[in-house]
Symmetry: C2
Subunit: 436 residues, 2 copies
């Protein structure tokens, strides 16, 4: 692909969509990618830049001169993308790039957006939108829209404001087209509009847009002035990222990795939770070591160690993942914490009883040793009960403490359950065999 | 809420959004819900019906008379929602409802849509869209749009077709507004448009719309005729559902459950994987039983059973979840199966070596027994190596066989890894202690 045949390369890329070019660039070295960029015209180069993964983008931008970043990329971008990219730059470079932006209005928009917290509506909204005054007529609107529309890729909704820029409602293009040109906007617009504030949390924005199937939502400040809008593609990205994060948490992986990453990145992502597993295993060994005489007297007790550990782990993960998923999907406060724990207790009581009986039947007929049979059944019952109880309680607690509840699904809880499970198992076992 | 004060109730619900009413209805009994429905006018009642969970909807509809379903709900719905609802009805009721629909064009649309497979573009598309002929002028278009727009909630794009209804391109409302009324459409439309076929799989539709940030995508048949369109809200729902399914798979839960479900539904969802865990535990006990004399001679060997099992499980889940997630996010064929396995082998070799050394250091200084130390380290190394190898291989194989690869992340593989891990551990241990 890289034979310095620039003319031909340029011609090949012309008809491609930015997202496709970004995919191809992913396989190139940084120098190759740089030379490909310089071939693209500004509009396309900036679209491609938005599509490439964040890490690559940061590495790439930090080697470019600031005036090039400003003139080649930023100037062609919507304010939300531009702000994201500027926010990622090193502090020095950031200041220089901002100074190099020729369009002062755009530079001002970017600086405004950088003020908002990253995970709020203000942090993800774009300044570009089409707004009209409620006192205008359809004809004035159409003229005004044709001016504003140049900066906006897709219109979706037209926002109607009063003289103080306060949001009054929305107007669909459909309505605008279907009405005569001298109708006043105030008679046409829909005043009942869903909106969010600049400080609304990203999760909540996504929930609202998803619930009401909105393609875009307006963002207002504390006194109701229209500040920007958020579009559906941000919501899709957010839903996907949240799901991926929870998934990686439950599978014991730290950070955002893909199979295409470099081997050492994959090793680093796995290391922390494996270390937790190792430490848990060592603690397990210490617990078992303290029951050394029991194990050497009744070797059969050791046989059911994997069973107890596996059931404790499985039940715990099931319980916490149900809670985590319901928190993530926004089902909250439908039931109180206490009520939920009570139901979980009922469910786990029944489940634990079923499995305690199953293993009792197996052991009674196959193993024959009544003390072992009773020890395994009773401790399995207790272990499953507390494992699902903790599995429910801990994510709920973490959520209360504003810590990501998905942490509870990681190997940490499983490991803790394993160790506690061993304690209970040998505690019960010791009791039964001491009775003899 | 339910004091038969119908007038008041009706007034309360008037300003509410259908999604909110659906949420309230969720807490009512089926009879209460039925009486609330009959208070709502048709448009609203049908919107609410779309928002309530599928199971509740099915139960509710199957007790209503067919002519009521047709006149009160179906007639006000878009064809895609109507088809979904009709598809859910029992066969007899389905036929009757279809016969009761007065608008024969709509009935025809529904029957057409029912022909497509549920998980294809045809199965999720709606028939309602705005299309214009390439030979028309802007003025004709505007007139035609005002006719068609009545049936379409949101326009998003105007599709341009030729005389044979073949899709030629799209036209934005923006362009339509900004051009003079006698311009011909053929000079305005954008011919380079992303589209899918009726038999394109749902996953692929979601990928394309997400990748190119499309708010709607047209669906064509094999000879290019425009058949319908799919909108962004279907994609958000799909992304969310896919993520939830994978998450439930990895956490060992069968079927779609939420904490608000009834206790017995929660028990049933947990049962299958816990049973796998129980059977695995019993097999583990059998494996350990076959090493009874080794355990009773060298009790310390038993101490590290939880460590080996936990590390095998953790590594296996990490490996398979990375593969599953990359398959789900559409990163495919970037690397071949062979290449991926080779890299996974490298990564797991390094990881296994690190942890084997760590446990060696611990045991060497704390435990002191050199045979035990070597047994644990060497078997941990082997176990981690094969667990991550299988963790990568099995989801890739399942995917080849068109089985959901997420199945590999469930407790099945973890359980298998546990058992194999015990075999390897005691095999290695036996070797070392026999040497003495």
């Amino acid at each position: 692909i890289e034979e310095n045949n620039t003319q031909e390369l340029k011609a090949t890329m012309e008809p491609l969509h930015p997202a496709d070019i970004a995919e191809v660039m992913d396989d190139l070295t940084i120098d190759e990618a740089k030379s490909v960029y310089l071939l693209l015209d500004g509009e396309k180069a900036s679209d491609v830049l938005i599509e490439i993964p964040e890490n690559d983008r940061r590495r790439f931008l930090n080697v470019l001169p600031p005036e090039l970043i400003a003139s080649k990329f930023i100037e062609y971008m919507d304010s939300d993308d531009a702000a994201d990219i500027v926010a990622d730059l090193d502090e020095d470079l950031k200041q220089e790039v901002l100074r190099e932006i020729e369009d002062t209005e755009q530079a001002g928009d970017i600086v405004d957006l950088l003020e908002y917290e990253e995970d709020t509506a203000g942090g993800i909204m774009a300044k570009e939108l089409v707004s009209v005054n409620e006192n205008w007529t359809v004809a004035t609107c159409l003229k005004e829209i044709s001016k504003q529309a140049e900066e906006v890729d897709e219109i979706y909704y037209i926002y109607v404001t009063d003289d103080q820029q306060r949001l009054k409602g929305v107007l669909s293009l459909k309505k605008l087209i279907l009405n005569s040109t001298n109708t006043k906007i105030s008679n046409l617009y829909e005043p009942d509009v869903k909106m969010v504030r600049t400080n609304t949390r990203q999760e909540e924005v996504a929930e609202i847009m998803d619930k009401y199937d909105l393609v875009a939502i307006p963002v207002i400040d504390d006194i109701g002035r229209l500040k920007g809008r958020i579009t559906f593609d941000d919501v899709i990205d957010f839903v996907r990222e949240e799901a991926e994060r929870d998934y990686q948490m439950i599978s014991g992986i730290t950070g955002d990795v893909e199979p295409d990453d470099k081997p050492w990145e994959l090793i680093r992502a796995r290391f922390p939770w494996l270390l937790v597993g190792l430490l848990g295993g060592i603690m397990g060994a210490l617990v078992l070591g303290s029951y050394e005489s029991e194990i050497s007297h009744v070797t059969e007790l050791a046989f059911f160690i994997p069973l107890i550990a596996a059931m404790a782990g499985n039940v715990g993960v099931q319980s916490s993942s149900i809670v985590v998923q319901s928190i993530a999907s926004g089902v909250k406060d439908v039931e109180t914490t206490g009520k939920r724990l009570l139901k979980e207790l009922m469910v786990s009581f029944a489940t634990a009883a079923i499995f305690a009986i199953l293993i009792f039947i197996y052991n009674y007929f196959v193993q024959g040793n009544i003390n072992l049979t009773l020890s395994v059944s009773i401790s399995l019952f207790i272990v499953m009960l507390y494992a699902s109880f903790f599995g429910t309680l801990i994510p709920l607690l973490l959520n209360r403490l504003k810590i990501d509840p998905a942490l509870a699904t990681g190997p940490f809880i499983t490991t803790m359950n394993d160790i506690l499970g061993l304690f209970i198992y040998f505690g019960v076992g010791k009791m039964f065999f001491d009775f003899l």
